[in-house]
Symmetry: C2
Subunit: 213 residues, 2 copies
């Protein structure tokens, strides 16, 4: 966590360029749309060449998910740090909620939280980005599955239950995301509350017979 330690001029310039590109990209994506924004525009906004953009980001998509990656990493770390006595589903639940609580600290070093939340919604409403998001989530789920398998002492190759549990959890998260991004309360508290609410209703959703309740 000691990034400010002896940062050479070159490194500082690099970091600034990257941050400028990222901020400009997210700003443009969220205001005029992802597809409508060209890489040239982003580069021009920072007064660098298009080629330089591609030296910092593997592609346009990569810039869109740069911040998301930070929060996902936090989530994985949070799961890893959960006490061993917690059941898998409970550990994931706590890790996610914890992630929302600490979102500000996680994100603010790169971009304003408000910009992050706007980008989050842009991802949900842009088909190409939604696809990429789901694929990335699948990769994260695979990581978590291995983590839980090891933690519970089962073989992830032979026992499908770790992957099943994570897939179910991931499915619930996607419903939560969708509900939040199509709702009318775009606050951080709203998404935290929705997360808990959706997780609480999984059992009821699976047992069927929704008419009676």
């Amino acid at each position: 966590m000691e990034t400010r330690a002896r940062e050479t001029l070159r490194e500082r310039k690099k970091r600034r360029t990257r941050e400028a590109l990222l901020r400009a990209a997210l700003e443009l994506f969220t205001t005029q749309g992802y597809e409508q924004t060209t890489v040239d525009e982003i580069a021009e906004a920072c007064e660098v060449s298009q080629r330089t953009f591609f030296r910092y980001f593997a592609g346009k998509e990569d810039a869109a998910f740069a911040v998301q990656d930070m929060t996902e990493a936090r989530f994985v770390a949070a799961v890893r740090e959960r006490p061993a006595h917690e059941a898998p589903m409970e550990a994931m639940r706590q890790a996610v909620l914890q992630g929302w609580d600490a979102l500000r600290e996680t994100v603010e070093s790169a971009v304003p939280v408000e910009l992050y939340l706007r980008m989050y919604r842009t991802i949900e409403s842009t088909p190409a980005l939604l696809a990429a998001h789901l694929r990335r989530s699948a990769a994260t789920e695979e990581t978590i599955a291995r983590l839980l398998a090891e933690r519970e002492g089962v073989d992830v190759a032979a026992d499908p239950r770790p992957r099943l549990a994570v897939a179910v959890f991931g499915g619930v998260m996607r419903v939560t995301e969708r509900q939040w991004s199509t709702g009318d309360d775009f606050s951080l508290e709203a998404i935290r509350q929705l997360t808990a609410s959706c997780l609480d209703q999984v059992g009821s959703a699976l047992t069927g017979n929704w008419r009676t309740t």
Copy 2:
């Protein structure tokens, strides 16, 4: 189902061109890889111009999923036709299994089943296609959720349980797909059996404490 009735010459030619393009595309995708195959190659293999390819398919991706779309449509229809007394999860389970059983008839009109299965695996192992696949699945899930909500007489906007149930089911399907495509038995029977097996283990996966069993 009466496609052969009064098919004009023009229509026949069109259908042939489309089928040729589709077959060539899948053949090339599955043998040399999706990214490694250019649209020009596909068009050339059928002796048409690149422009013509784009008149039949919205894009390279579209060709890759043409057959998948047929099976998904069958699945949605199957859910719709399930008896009203079945619980949601059970209805989806039956619909999927039924889909695998009828796969041959569903697919063979377009391409050989073997080619379909090969393409299925190619999708799983190609990041760009996997992303598209997940997004398409999400769209299908939304359709199913509305279907089940109506069927059970609940409001899909107010009650998250239909979407939750479908998301959970979809998650299990993805685990199944992955397990199948990374396993060593690429037969149709294998995937059918895996489907049932994974669905059976969801309960156990969620209750945690995997060590004891």
